[in-house]
Subunit: 212 residues, 2 copies
Amino acid sequence: MLDESGSKISPRTISRLPVYWRYLKELDDFGIERISSRELAGRIGSTPSQLRQDLNQFGHFGQHGYGYPVEELLSSISQILGLNRTRKMIIVGMGNLGMAIASYENFGRRNIKLAALFDVDPERIGTVVSDVQIQHADEMPKFLEENQIDIGCVSTPPEVAQEAVTTMEHGGVLGIWNFAPVKLQTKLPVEHLHLGDSLLELLYRIGRREDK
Amino acid sequence: MLDESGSKISPRTISRLPVYWRYLKELDDFGIERISSRELAGRIGSTPSQLRQDLNQFGHFGQHGYGYPVEELLSSISQILGLNRTRKMIIVGMGNLGMAIASYENFGRRNIKLAALFDVDPERIGTVVSDVQIQHADEMPKFLEENQIDIGCVSTPPEVAQEAVTTMEHGGVLGIWNFAPVKLQTKLPVEHLHLGDSLLELLYRIGRREDK
């Protein structure tokens, strides 16, 4: 029942799957075996009916009155999200943001392995972050030729982000995780994390409250 | 026609407004006065019909065949997003992520003023970032008593994020911009930026491609 067609799961549901995954992972770590739809929905700020609607899109879980089996549900969501295999990631741009990303503790939980770090600043090259040494960005094409990399993370200044992405795409990277506030030309899937957009949404919500 | 009721604009539209704002701001900076719905939609990866549907929710812009007036549209969106007034922000947690946020160049464009930075690490206290000196977090309650702060940015380790938010809420902060991977108890609006969730969405999309 797992998402065979590729068209069953709605984009809104997909954006909620990482949140479900996070809470189920916590429950599983604590050894909790079952959770009611009401309780799980409450934890993630959703409603039991939305939760059921989401989960019904990729399988039949839970029996009325018995709740969801945590481990089984976690395993299904992990599989949909592709967490059952290790993915290799490189980061280009080791300023404060790149350093913060490279130091992020939760990659291991998500089966992500940091494979290489790149920058152009001579003062940064050679520094070791999370057991990986920063190399010069000129080394990237050769590195990609010799290593199959899944995720290319871009935390460069915006004006060089496109160049980094082009190199990554040519080098066989499968997807781009982009922190640079710039639109990228690429055929690869791109996930943007745009600080400014997130801040504007907060400003909007603050303003709405003041109007009331 | 501007969003008087507070219920006219859908959440999906709101999440797209920051993107519209960014592209319109660029066009305006370049002195472009009009843009067709097709072109604007293309730039933001949307369709002309969705664009029209979004913009019709807060005003009547554009005439068939004449396109949208850039400055007027930008000004309306700025007003809806609350960008017509300056907002003061503080950041708690000046590790790599806090440093990256404090160094973000685009706050000025969004009328955000960095008012104070806090940490507990003696080695960081006293350091100046973007013209603001890092203070000890113990100073935060007093600072909030003396200054009206709009946005509290949390980039602390997860285990102290709640404490920071509680202090901010008591100190009269209006909204929380949260980078800590933890659910917060607060009555304030919270905008989360969760690195792990974003990465999982990318993993899902990479997996989908491989399946094809």
